[in-house]
Subunit: 352 residues, 2 copies
DNA sequence: GCCTATAAATGGAACGTTCCAATAAATCAA
DNA sequence: TTGATTTATTGGAACGTTCCATTTATAGGC
């Protein structure tokens, strides 16, 4: 049974009493083979314990059936969701995606990309690591391999992007905060080496401007995009001479951190200080208090990215249109009205 | 620059004025080539935009340098951690692991396994999907491919396993609960198609027995291993005629669910009902109240699994010893003493 | 200057497939 | 029957590498 040297189509051919070509045809499900012959061959395949050698096949075939998905942080459920969405559509297309994690490390990313190319992937879906250099994808592009970016984009690049409408999401969230009566706001977390940061911050600023918040009341505190970063952001914000009353956070992790820090100071998130997150990870709904957040439907974006990739491969092109996914503010309990604003209506009419 | 047909070692050879064999040697970093020749070749490699074809190489070479990691649920940070741990050691060994997700689906798992084998991986690390049939790995075994199971094992299988000491973890946690004065306990979540379930439940039962808890006071409520499952478990437990006062949960997700459900009923986790989790995911520490949980060091287990795999490949064997990882109960705030027990010392002895 | 030893480079076969062109067998029209 | 057509099957070349056995160039010993 377990013959030491692995079986090839020649072994199958001998076993079934046909030629290697016939075996190959059966393997590919060709209709040219007489059914009885085909089943004879299939039996032989079982008997010899054959495993198909895709490497050898790709030597002759134009395209492989594997696609690489390069994810910047697999431990972040947000990106894991993205991967799962992509998988769903590839699976139904008979393609097996291989996932590789770069752990937000450009050097690692380079290795991973190289390895995937050597493996002969048909295409690449990438959520680029922070700090990716502009030239990182040049080689891949000149090789004519289809690539799409998901979630994140590179500053200047012609590679198609599938991403949420960060600007609008931040705008919506900020407008909601302002609508609740907050007049001194802060943007928490992230740093300017990330395009997403600029997009979200842009939405925040535009909302402030549009809704009559002075620029000096639209604060920014950069920081890590993690729980820890959120804690730090909140500390520095509350240490200000004139602290803000509400925060839009770069992502949910930062928001969780900020809420944690509030609790530690004896303040109640929502009542004493409003916080809204971004991404709407599964945890947001279950937090105490439940976090108001901008839902981006990462699994949906993953599916979209996969579809775009499939189409690119099929039409053997390396170009495609960007796709900006709709976002959706889901309001929960983490941002009550500004305390001071709430007191006012009871008193006298004041500027809205 | 971007020549349409992809470059091969022959193109490099022509460009550099050497033979294909020389190019091959340079590619492999052989010391047999004169340094000047080597650098001439390396320049040519750059110039023609060459990408190595690993499939072709594997046709001749004995072993490939890719390892497959098959994960049952990537969106569970617990398993994602496992993957990250493995990656860490493979990276330093110059091996690129490809991750594939089975989404807890045995059929999907079969496809993934097949694809990985066809790709010619050197080995497989698998956290098997729930409901995996005993024969699912037979083909792989007869092919002589090294496999190790991580986190989970199959009922009867000779494949080496790297997993935490579930029995002991559950024992420790249960003993802690009993030490806090609880006399009627429940095990929440999981179901008997999972070996891990039996291990953890076994630890729970042994602790109860050893510490003088009658069997009828060691309850079990099966359920989904998710937040939702935890909610359901708590509901049924509290609906009992004589409800328990403390729960050991199958994993942290179940514990979060249970705590959520407690809150919803106006009960305070920790004070009114003790809950301890299992796995100690990152979130546990930050929950309100912080969750007491059994830490299993999944990243560490991932590293261990990777090391075992590396050794198996190196010594071309398909056998290795199991490795049971140490566990560690980390006590936080989610399990105070039994209320009634707390009252006793002050007042008088009453029925527990 | 010749022979030998060492270093550097090379040609050819092999790896396991696919695909094309060719053959063999079966069917049909006349 | 014979040739034409269709249906099944097959051999051979090619894909891009590695590796072995050779060849060629360089150096060393006398």
């Amino acid at each position: 049974m377990a013959s030491r040297a692995k079986a090839t189509i020649f072994d199958i051919a001998r076993e079934a009493g046909v030629s290697k070509s016939t075996v190959s045809l059966v393997l590919q499900g060709s209709g040219l083979i007489r059914p009885e012959t085909a089943s004879k061959v299939r039996k032989a395949i079982e008997d010899v314990g054959y495993v198909y050698n895709r490497g050898a096949a790709n030597l002759r075939k134009a395209h492989s059936n594997v696609i690489g998905m390069v994810i910047n942080d697999l431990t972040n459920p947000f990106f894991a969701e993205l991967a799962v969405g992509m998988e769903r559509v590839f699976q139904s297309a008979g393609i097996v995606p291989f996932i590789a994690n770069t752990a937000e490390n450009p050097v690692r990313q380079e290795e991973v990309l190289k390895s995937l190319m050597e493996q002969g992937v048909a295409g690449l879906i990438v959520s680029p690591a922070r700090g990716t250099t502009p030239g990182a994808f040049r080689k891949i592009e000149t090789a004519g391999l289809p690539v799409v970016f998901a979630m994140r984009r590179l500053p200047e690049s012609r590679i198609p992007v599938i991403a949420p409408d960060n600007h609008r999401g931040a705008y919506l969230a900020t407008a909601h905060l302002i609508g609740k009566g907050h007049r001194r706001l802060v943007f928490f977390g992230g740093s300017s080496d990330l395009v997403v940061y600029h997009e979200r911050l842009g939405g925040f600023r535009e909302a402030c401007e549009t809704q009559g918040i002075a620029a000096r009341d639209a604060l920014v505190v950069e920081g890590e995009t993690s729980r820890r970063g959120g804690i730090a952001c909140l500390e520095t914000a509350l240490a200000m001479a004139e602290p803000p009353t509400a925060a839009l956070c770069f992502n949910d992790a930062v928001a969780f951190g900020a809420m944690l820090a509030l609790r530690k100071r004896g303040l109640e998130p929502g009542a004493d200080f409003a916080v809204v997150g971004f991404d709407d990870v599964a945890e947001a709904e279950h937090y105490m208090p439940a976090l108001t957040s901008v839902a981006v439907d990462s699994a949906g974006l993953g599916e979209r990215a996969a579809h775009v990739m499939l189409k690119m491969i099929q039409s053997r092109t390396t170009r495609a249109e960007d796709h900006i996914g709709a976002v959706n503010l889901v309001v929960r309990e983490s941002c009550g009205p500004d305390r001071r604003a709430r007191n006012r209506p009871a008193g006298s009419g004041d500027a809205a």
